[in-house]
Assembly symmetry: C2
Homo-oligomer: 335 residues x 2
Amino acid sequence: MEEFAAVSGISRPTVSKYFHDPESVRASTRARIEEALAKYDYRPNIYAINQNRQLTKNIGIVVPYLADPFFAEIVRRIERRCIDAGYSPTLFSSHGEQALENQILDGLRSLKPAGVLLAALGRASDRQEIEKFCRDVPTILFDSNLDGIGEAFVGSDNFSFVSQSVDYLTRSGEPPIFVEMATPANPNARKRRTAYVTKMEGLGLEPHIVQLPGEGWAFEEIGYQGTMKLLKDGNLPTNTILCSNDRLAIGVLSACYESGLKVGQDPSCDLRVAGHDDHPFARYTCPSLTTVAHDYDSVSNRSVELLFELIDNGGRFEQRSEVLFASRLILRGSA
Amino acid sequence: MEEFAAVSGISRPTVSKYFHDPESVRASTRARIEEALAKYDYRPNIYAINQNRQLTKNIGIVVPYLADPFFAEIVRRIERRCIDAGYSPTLFSSHGEQALENQILDGLRSLKPAGVLLAALGRASDRQEIEKFCRDVPTILFDSNLDGIGEAFVGSDNFSFVSQSVDYLTRSGEPPIFVEMATPANPNARKRRTAYVTKMEGLGLEPHIVQLPGEGWAFEEIGYQGTMKLLKDGNLPTNTILCSNDRLAIGVLSACYESGLKVGQDPSCDLRVAGHDDHPFARYTCPSLTTVAHDYDSVSNRSVELLFELIDNGGRFEQRSEVLFASRLILRGSA
DNA sequence: GCAATTTCTTTACGCGAGTAAAAATTTTAT
DNA sequence: ATAAAATTTTTACTCGCGTAAAGAAATTGC
């Protein structure tokens, strides 16, 4: 920077000021610096810049499983907004593993980020570690809530999801059974189950839950295998299946197709299947999947906005808040 | 570090040495440092560490579109291997935009990474910028090749893909037409088209290519809309469709289903559809998709290995190499 | 045109490490 | 036990930048 300042004919402190905020120097000065910049393509050493900062312009984004298109999609929006606001987002995926999640948080601490947007693994998370991390780094949780952890939570209202799907399904045909994984990784799954029970009872109907065996993030496979077995055993008490999430539903649809069952709302159909999340590919299943959509835009926007607020507020909120966005029923061919 | 060295009873230079490589200090010294480490949880400032390095332990991973499960999957493997080798991988997605790709490369330059694994946008890439970047930063291209750019390329052999699918399809039924996007973003698409023509001609058959209109990364939608129109116009010269990639095929399958066409190899079926890539969800389409699989493991492993070699070699290879892995036909229900 | 204000320049120090060189200490080999 | 070898300590300098203070220069207001 010394050298660059010399060739641009400006003092180093002023150049330093320019890089911190180009608007903070006089227009004529700025012009001269930018002129020199065009000629010598100097760039400040970000490591030197950040060395003495307790907070950088970095933002950490952590998701449990990036190969899940749901997270890929939401991350895409969040990233964009961070960049537009002048931050440098860094993306991490826990790949479904607690050890990796902890490792990521540990590395994140060293990055001294201005803030972190964390979608935790959920059940598989090391609650203590996350709690400790949140004490050190301003963190907003999204999608996956951990009670009392983080400065705020932004996500979708699971009751809204299930309420709408159950309402629609009962109104238009037989009441649904609820299909989920036996040991769901994500806290939303548990909330959806509870919501299903509550909702059904509210309608004076008997809830019926089917738990498919399997762990991990291979939801489609679990849905597929589970449904094959279910169909073979032939103990479906209804013709309507509501899946905890769309990826499970994709597996269910696949099993139905292979078993020669026709899925759809038509009277000639054997089954109706619906899901939750409005997974990016749900539109292209056969038949296309009736589901309930996250308000992707609101969740990602509000998460980022809250994080910026948090950063402006020095990294702490007086009170932890939870924002839940309502979902939207998407009627398609499968139910 | 000064303070930490004091409380651990070891001199600062030795502590510094320890963090650079714990094996480089005597066992007794290491023990004392680690003992102190457990008590005071000090961690070196990565910014200070990297400030005077011309090369860090960072590795940049850049993909064109992370919301595409193909990339999500391959990145998952690459990331893991980098971490295991003691590097810090950082993930970037160009989200299909040239401007963002350039911006990412620019940011990457500042990160002074030991190496970069780059899957470029392809047609949408700013060739010059990438070339310039590769001169500054040791870079291995993967998946998407740009002639002469980067120190090496690792990818799948597109001819192997198409050769296998065409062979199988012609052997088992009518020869396929080839469905692709009109202006494919990815260089592999062009190679696959050429391979199709070559292969068909080699078999003494007339190639027939259908180009679906549409741009960007919404492949399923393009496949869906294009097929709907194709079916309406009713000018399919054969009952066998070979798609340039699986995501397109997912859209095709969806359109077929909606149009009441039965897809499969059974004589009672109207159409056969196959794809390429073995997309993570191809197993769960209805019917499940016959496709040709990347050798995910080899591609990701070899990319990483080559990058490590490149790093050890000081960032340059004497000669640019191109490694292509053969693919594997996956027979499923759709063809 | 002159004072008040704003912006720059000069000078100097600090940050948290890496690292080189020489001296001191510990370990190993004989 | 002693010499040789390996490791650690001491000391001191470097890197690239942030930033504070004081004074100089340029701009603005009237």
